[in-house]
């Protein structure tokens, strides 16, 4: 049995009398420790899919099962790293992570243990030095690092990343991608990442889920990325498997499911 099972999920948004079908018959099975990317043109409903797994958006029909149990509500075992970091601006970096840690481990860990766990996670994303800063005082890349630390600190069964590097410049993005790869290698988390960056998807993922254009978006294709880990950005540039995978995704996105409105 698979770790996470998305079973024939439909999603229709109802607004007054008009109903918009967003997702149609999505089925996907994800194994423990897998890194799966979901890629598609904007508006195809990939963020909606992530929110459904997170439990933030209710399902119209179908089900999401985590370890065989249906999930309907949001919860810390499916931590989300939000696109715009979503740190609380009135709390310091430390307190932002502490909010999550105290809530999730409040009854189970002692105060000292929780402190160590917060610092451990901040150090994991190299943000321990900025623990007393407020979000407004650190850069966009640093904020997203803290967002990742907050997600990891919940010790989730699945870490959901909603276009985590979308708002960052190319250099910072590459930096954070390397960090995420390292964290994935160390902790072996199951991760699902929404992205619209083909290189990012190929570099990070074990599998790439490609979505067709909405409305009624479906899973068009699932691509296995058979690249050995650890992966090195520079070595991959000329790697044949990498180039082939990249080409497959690009062809899917720009040949067969071209985004009409984008022109």
């Amino acid at each position: 049995m698979s770790y996470l099972k998305i079973d024939h999920v439909d999603k229709t948004f109802q607004r007054g009398a008009t109903s918009t079908p967003v997702l149609k018959d999505i089925s996907l099975e994800i194994e423990k420790g897998e890194y799966v990317s979901v890629i598609g043109h904007s508006g195809c409903g990939k963020s909606t899919l992530l929110n459904i797994i997170a439990g933030l958006t209710p399902i119209t029909s179908g089900a999401v099962l985590l370890e065989g149990r249906e999930v309907r509500d949001p919860g810390p075992e499916r931590a989300v790293v939000f696109q715009n970091h979503s740190l609380l601006p009135w709390l310091t970096v430390y307190d932002n992570v502490a909010l999550a840690v105290n809530k999730v481990f409040g009854g189970r860990k002692s105060k000292a243990e929780r402190h160590d766990w917060i610092m451990h996670n901040l150090d994991l994303v190299q943000m321990g030095h900025a623990k007393d800063k407020r979000p407004a005082e650190i850069s966009g890349g640093m904020k997203q690092r803290v967002g990742i630390a907050r997600g990891l600190a919940m010790e989730p069964k699945i870490l959901l990343l909603d276009e985590p590097f979308g708002a960052l410049d190319a250099l910072t993005r590459a930096h954070l991608q390397d960090s995420i790869m390292q964290i994935h290698a160390t902790l072996g988390n199951t991760m699902i990442m929404i992205t619209h960056d083909v290189d990012e998807a190929v570099l990070l993922s074990d599998r790439i889920v490609m979505m067709t254009n909405g409305p009624s978006a479906r899973i068009g294709e699932v691509l296995d990325v058979r690249l050995a880990r650890p992966r090195k950005r520079l070595d991959l540039v000329s790697d044949r498997t990498y180039i082939a995978a990249r080409e497959a995704v690009l062809k899917f996105l720009y040949e067969r499911h071209r985004f009409v409105e984008a022109a």
Partner: protein, 302 residues
């Protein structure tokens, strides 16, 4: 709005006072003193730039007033006469010579105490009601129209009703403060809560924060800038209302003092009391703004 206007005044003040401040810069050329003077000068300059313009304005007003009110037929006393007649009130705010012969400082404190009780109640109830209206669509549909009608009722119109209900002037005055200050608190809190970004709500949902945790950890800090806007308007309104309410209820407050002075034609005392009220109202406003600035530190910038 208020902040923008303040800034303009400050900028204007800089332009006016610079020529006056400059001569102070010139006679300090000694190199040994340079560190000290370079540290002190900005301070001196800042004080001059900020304090001098209002002093000049006040002096000009007083001069104009003196000229205008000095004629034999003048119905209002000029500043010099006020100084002669009400010197004890100005110089000794805290004297005590019998139950009704006390300094204005004491009267202000009595009024402030009423405002403190009424305003604190309004702040607590207002934030809770505002949170309810901001959070629940049905509460908003049910309560908002009622609030919108009630908030237009002038503070003093509540006084007869509260006198009838409480049968005592002290709780009635406090109730008038409460009912005056609560509307801006409710309305601003509700707006602040409706404006909590969906992201923060998502974070709370993923963490499974319960209602109480959500209220204290997300709602209040996130809506704090709005709440403090409401509190600031509220405290200003309560200070307006207390003076009027005390004129009617009597007792020891500053409002009754003015009414009493009018009945015995002590115009100078009234004018001194007006200055007291103005200064205290200004300080109250600044106090709430100051607390707000500390509490909402970092909340607005993201």
């Amino acid at each position: 709005m208020g902040r923008a206007v303040l800034k303009e005044v400050e900028t204007g003040a800089t332009v006016v006072a610079l020529p006056g401040a400059k001569p102070g810069v010139v006679p300090l050329p000694a190199p040994a003193r340079k560190p000290l003077s370079s540290r002190l000068l900005p301070w001196l300059r800042a004080i001059l730039v900020n304090v001098l313009p209002p002093l000049v304005t006040v002096a000009l007003i007083a001069l104009f007033w003196q000229i205008a009110a000095s004629g034999p037929q003048s119905s209002l006393p000029p500043p010099t006469k006020i100084w002669e007649e009400a010197k004890d009130l100005i110089v000794e705010p805290f004297y005590w010579a019998g139950s009704q012969d006390i300094g204005l400082g004491w009267r202000i404190l009595v009024s402030l105490q009423r405002v403190a009780i009424g305003f604190s109640l309004a702040a607590i109830v207002g934030v809770l009601l505002g949170a309810l209206v901001g959070q629940s669509v049905w509460a908003m549909r049910g309560l908002d129209p009622v609030f919108q009608v009630l908030r237009t009722v002038p503070p003093l119109a509540w006084l007869p009703l509260s006198l009838a209900a409480f049968r005592d002037s002290q709780p009635s005055a406090i109730f008038v403060i409460f009912i005056t200050a609560i509307w801006p608190v409710i309305i601003n809190t509700a707006v602040g809560i409706r404006n909590i970004p969906q992201d923060y709500r998502n974070v709370a949902q993923v963490l499974r924060l319960n209602q109480v945790e959500f209220f204290f950890k997300i709602m209040v800090p996130s809506a704090a800038p709005y709440i403090f806007t409401g509190l600031r308007i509220g405290v200003g309104l309560s200070w307006l209302a207390i003076v009027a309410a005390e004129m009617l209820t009597g007792g020891v407050g500053i409002g009754f003092f003015i009414w009493d002075a009018w009945n015995s034609s002590r115009l100078s005392d009234i004018i001194v009391a007006l200055v007291y009220i103005g200064v205290v109202g200004f300080l109250l406003d600044r106090l709430v703004a100051f607390v707000g600035a500390i509490v909402t530190r970092g909340t607005l910038v993201n």
